[in-house]
Structures are given as C-alpha cells and as structure tokens.
C-alpha cells in the first residue's frame, strides 16, 4: 500500500456491513465496483486517490482499473464539491427553454466563472452535465438528490437563501 496506515481511509462498521452486502449480490469481486464507489463517496466525501486505492485493495483490483472507472463516469466526485452539489442540465430540452441564462445567473450568484466551480464558503458547487431525464420541467438541475425544475433566476435565489439560512 502506498499510503501510511495513519491516513488510510477505512469504512466504518456500518459501511463495511453495507459493503459486504453489496459484494454478496455479484458472482465476482469486480462487478460491485460502481456500487462500492457510490458507498465510498458517501462515506469519505469524495474519491481521492487514497480512497480509490482502498477500494481497489478491498475488491482485489488494480488501482489503475479503479481509477479508469472513476474517471469514465461523470458523477463520481474526484475532488471536493460543495455541500450542495448542483448538477445543471445543459442538454437540448433544457437549453431551448432558456437554461443557459439561468446557468449564468447561478454562476454569478455563487461567485464562480461560467465554467462552474465551488463557492468560497464551500456551500454550493455547480457543474454542467448532460441530460438528467426531467426534460418536461426544463431548465432543471439536481441539487444533491433533489430535482428542481422550471428554473428562473428568482426561483434559484429563493433556493439559495434557503440553503444559506439552513447552513448558517
């Protein structure tokens, strides 16, 4: 192992139990990988190289394979994201309903460039993603697990205020 035991990530007993249950669903140790990465993300916040190596070790996979998978799928957090992680739909149905304008507003509201990023207080991060499967309520976004649709600058501002007061 390339990391020292002091900083090594380790599943809590509850997460370890969940890990074992996930592994029991598949006939080999590679197949649970996507689900285990979701679990590791929940447990450790994001998938650092150390976490990837820990998962690789648990599943008897090469760290290169795990990193290959982590980077192929867009949802895994490879770096720290905001407490509220906004995934903003940039695809056609949302775009033609004015999604770009609202996105610009969100970026300036939380103080990041149009490329997206995380607010200074680490409360909100925003990134553009492809179709989230809620095209009838475009423009829309996922904020953590919550879907917010028919977005307008005003509607976003109200949400933002709510998040701020909740996390003050």
């Amino acid at each position: 192992m390339s990391y020292s035991d002091v900083t090594a990530p380790k599943f809590s007993p509850e997460a370890k139990k969940e890990f074992d249950e996930l592994c029991s669903r598949y006939p080999n140790k590679m197949a649970p990988l996507l689900m285990v990465l979701h679990l590791a993300e929940k447990e450790f916040g994001y998938l650092s190289i150390e976490v990837q190596e820990y998962v690789a070790n648990l599943l008897e996979l090469s760290p290169a394979h795990v990193q290959g998978v982590c980077t192929f799928y867009t949802m895994y957090k490879l770096e720290k994201k905001g407490k509220i992680r906004i995934q903003y739909c940039a695809t056609l149905s949302c775009a033609i309903m004015g999604g770009e304008k609202v996105f610009d507003h969100i970026c300036s509201k939380i103080g990041v460039s149009r490329k997206g990023g995380m607010s200074e207080d680490e409360l909100v991060s925003v990134e553009k993603v492809e179709c989230l499967g809620a095209c009838d309520i475009g423009p829309m976004m996922l904020a953590n697990d919550e879907t917010h649709g028919n977005l307008t600058p005003e509607k976003f501002d109200a949400l933002y205020e709510k998040w701020k007061s909740k996390n003050a």
């Binding site: 669903r25 006939p27 080999n28 590679m30 197949a31 649970p32 990988l33 996507l34 689900m35 990465l37 979701h38 599943l59 996979l61 394979h65 290959g68 998978v69 192929f72 799928y73 867009t74 949802m75 895994y76 995934q87 940039a90 695809t91 056609l92 149905s93 775009a95 033609i96 309903m97 004015g98 999604g99 770009e100 996105f103 149009r114 993603v129 492809e130 179709c131 989230l132 499967g133 809620a134 095209c135 009838d136 309520i137 475009g138 996922l142 697990d145 879907t147």
Partner: protein, 426 residues
C-alpha cells in the same frame, strides 16, 4: 384518440404506490399457472416490442435464450434512460415500482432466470431508493426471493446504480458497466442472449417493456393488442418536452397521429406567435422532421421509420422559431462528443469534428464547402463503429443538412445567425 393509461394508470399521484395498494402480484400468480413456453407465446402473441428504442419483439428476444444450459442466466432491466428528451421510465419507477418488479419476475420465470439486475442511471437516485424499498417489501411478502408463492421459483432482484454515462444505455455497454468496468460496448455477435453478463445467457429489456409484460399476463394478449396498429400493438409512453403548452409523459395507443399528441394532448405550441419549426420524434438520436411532414404522421414504428426518422424511445422534442436550429444541432453534437466512449476512431474523432464544424458555421465562419465536408464526415461515421452512438448523431446531422439546408446556407451568407438569435448553448 385520447390517452389510454394502462401502464400509467397510477402515475398521477404524489407518492409511490407501494404493495399495500398494489396488491399481491396477481399477474405473476397467473403466470405460474402456465409453463414457460406458454408465457413466451403470450408475449409473442401480444406483439410487445422493445420500448428502449429498437422496437425488437420482446417475446422473440426471450425465446433466443437457450433453455438447457448449465450456466446461470441473467436479466438486466435497462433503466439507464439517458436519451435526451426521454424521461418516461423515471416516472413509472417513481410512481408504480411494482408494475416493473412484477414484469421482471414474469420474464425471469419464462426464461428460467434466478438473478435480475435493474441497471438504473446514477442520475435517478430517488427512483433507485423507491425500487430498493419495493423489492424489500415484496421479499417480505414472499412475492420475490426464495420459493416465491410456494411455487418453487427463486428470484433475487438487485438495483445497480450507474454513475453518469450515456453509453451504458447501449446494451453491451450496460453489461460492461454492470461487471464493474468502463462502459465500452462489445462487438456483436455473440449476442447477449447467448453470451451476456458474466459470459452467461442474458435478457436485456427496457423498463417499459417489462412493465408491459405485467399487463399482458394480467389481462391477456388479446386485450393488449386491442389498441395500437397491427405491427405496433399496444400503448406506448411518450415523453414530450420543449415548446408545447403541456409537456410531460403521456401514454397513448401506437398509431396515434403526431398532431393529436402535440395539439390535443400537449395543448399545442407554447407561444401563439411562434410556429413549430422542427419535431424530433424519438429522442435526440431520431432524425428531425419538418412540421409539414411530422403533422401527417402517426406514432408507430413503421410510419416514423418510413419518414426517415425513428420512434426510438418516444422522447419527442418540439422546437419553435424562437431558437436557431443550428444552435440546436450544435447542442446535440456537443452531447454526443461528450458521451462518445472513445473506443472507435470514427466516433471519438468524428463526433468532435461535427461539433467543431457546426459551431464554426453557426458563428459565421463556415463556407459552402464545409457543408459537403460535414456531410462527408457524417457519412463516414455511419456503420463503421462497434455500437450506434456514432450513427445516432451522424444521421441527424445528415438529415438536418437535407431538411433544413437553407438554415446552414443563410448562416454562411450572413456570416452568423441571420436572425441574430440568442444562443441557447454556450
């Protein structure tokens, strides 16, 4: 023809319909009274066609799986619904999860499968949680799990979450992803019915297809095909988005006129002063139609296919004249360039070049020769790759060039958008 809500009978509610309201899997109970060949025969007779996009007859697909093999067999329910403009499966899973689970159990009984995975896209965390809960309560009532209804049939269903990759909706990309790898599609043959998940015989069906199996077994194949057309029987869920007054998911008999769906059911164009400019009938991979052509068509696999497009997943996107169609095409090319898995050169390179060229023309830096180049590049992307992601953008590009050529030309002539329309895609 109004809506016929068979699959969606209980989708108009706030909370999911759990077991206390759903009942005790009467369709599965009826299924157990028949042998597996009879169940497959019922599916064939009902004429249920795959609702993921390809429209392949489901009963026939089930019959391709060999009966007597000494390997395990698997079912993968494709809940990866990632085709832009498609959101029907999410609604069904979030509102009525058991209609899907019962359909999965019916398929597994018919084909002799003991383990099923629901591959659900990572972007649907709520639907995944609802399915997990529904599976747990069904197991508790002996409707899933060991020795179901004391009939000696065992079935485990697991929810497997993806993590953001369009390509995993392609059935062999899905298999790779389920096996814990990057979602790189496999060369076919061999087809998954013989060598699929973990090298074993595998059925892969869309959510709506499996839910339809519940209807077929509950009410019989005759009732199922009492609506729809001869070659496209039954109902189909359509996801309508874009510039209509009432976007949403609607279940209608196949063969319903496009005009009825857009005008009568979805309330017509969003704005009274902006007519419809373009209709994408079946998700963004389906070549776009002019309104003149679209409004004369019926929504079935044959009619839409004959018009040079496809019914696909039933994700209809309606676009009015407030947006520039080149901007629309740019958004589409960017999507496919983003989502190409990178295995095959024509797709990996081609999708990015399409994106670059459309962007160039849209911003007034194109020439008339570019239109030939665009067509040539798109043509070279058709049929030259492992899966059809490449064709899925190449075909729309070619049809845009054919059906809306004047829009490209006017951008070249005016050295930019002639109507100075606001960009919808940065």
């Amino acid at each position: 023809m109004p809506e016929v809500r068979w699959l969606m009978e209980h989708c108009d509610r706030e909370d999911p319909r759990y077991l206390n309201e759903y009942g005790d899997y009467d369709a599965l109970r009826k299924t157990f009274d028949k042998d597996s060949a009879a169940v497959i025969e019922d599916m064939k007779s009902a004429g249920v066609r795959g609702r993921g996009g390809a429209g392949f007859p489901a009963g026939l697909k089930w019959s391709f799986v060999p009966q007597n093999v000494d390997k395990p067999k698997y079912l993968c329910c494709n809940a990866d619904e990632s085709e832009p403009g498609t959101f029907k499966d999410r609604v069904l899973m979030e509102k009525d999860p058991h209609i899907l689970l019962e359909g999965i159990a019916i398929c597994c009984y018919a084909v002799g499968i003991g383990t099923a995975y629901i591959y659900i896209r990572g972007e649907y965390p709520i639907a995944a949680r609802i399915l997990d809960k529904a599976i747990a309560e069904a197991k508790e009532k002996n409707l899933l799990g060991k020795n179901i209804m004391d009939k000696g049939f065992d079935l485990e269903i697991y929810v497997h979450r993806g993590a953001g990759a369009y390509i995993c909706g392609e059935e062999t990309g899905l298999l790779e992803s389920l096996e814990g790898k990057r979602g790189h599609p496999r060369i076919k043959p061999p087809f998954p019915a013989l060598i699929g998940l973990f090298g074993c015989p595998t059925v892969i069906n869309n959510v709506e297809t499996l839910a339809a199996a519940t209807l077929v077994m509950r009410h019989g194949p005759e009732r199922y095909k009492s609506v729809g057309t001869e070659k496209s029987p039954g109902t189909k869920m359509f996801s309508v988005s874009g510039h209509v007054k009432k976007p949403g998911v609607y279940e209608i008999p196949l063969g319903t006129p496009v005009k009825e769906l857009i005008y009568d059911i979805c309330g017509g164009p969003l704005r009274d002063d902006s007519p419809i400019q373009c209709v994408i009938p079946g998700g963004s991979s389906a070549p776009p139609l002019t309104p003149e052509v679209a409004m004369e068509l019926t929504l079935d696999y044959e009619a839409i296919g004959a018009a040079g497009s496809m019914l696909g997943s039933g994700g209809m996107i309606v676009i009015d004249e407030t947006v520039c169609l080149l901007d629309v095409l740019y958004n589409m090319t960017r999507f496919y360039a983003d989502e190409s898995c990178g295995q095959c050169t024509p797709c990996r390179e081609g999708t990015s070049w399409l994106e670059t060229m459309v962007h160039r023309i849209e911003h007034g830096e194109g020439t008339l020769e570019d239109l030939d180049l665009l067509d040539e590049a798109a043509t070279n992307m058709c049929g030259t790759t492992i899966c059809v992601l490449s064709d899925s953008i190449a075909m729309p590009v070619r049809v845009f060039l054919k059906n809306f050529r004047h829009i490209f030309e006017s951008h070249i002539e005016a050295k930019g958008c002639p109507h100075k329309m606001e960009m919808v895609s940065a």
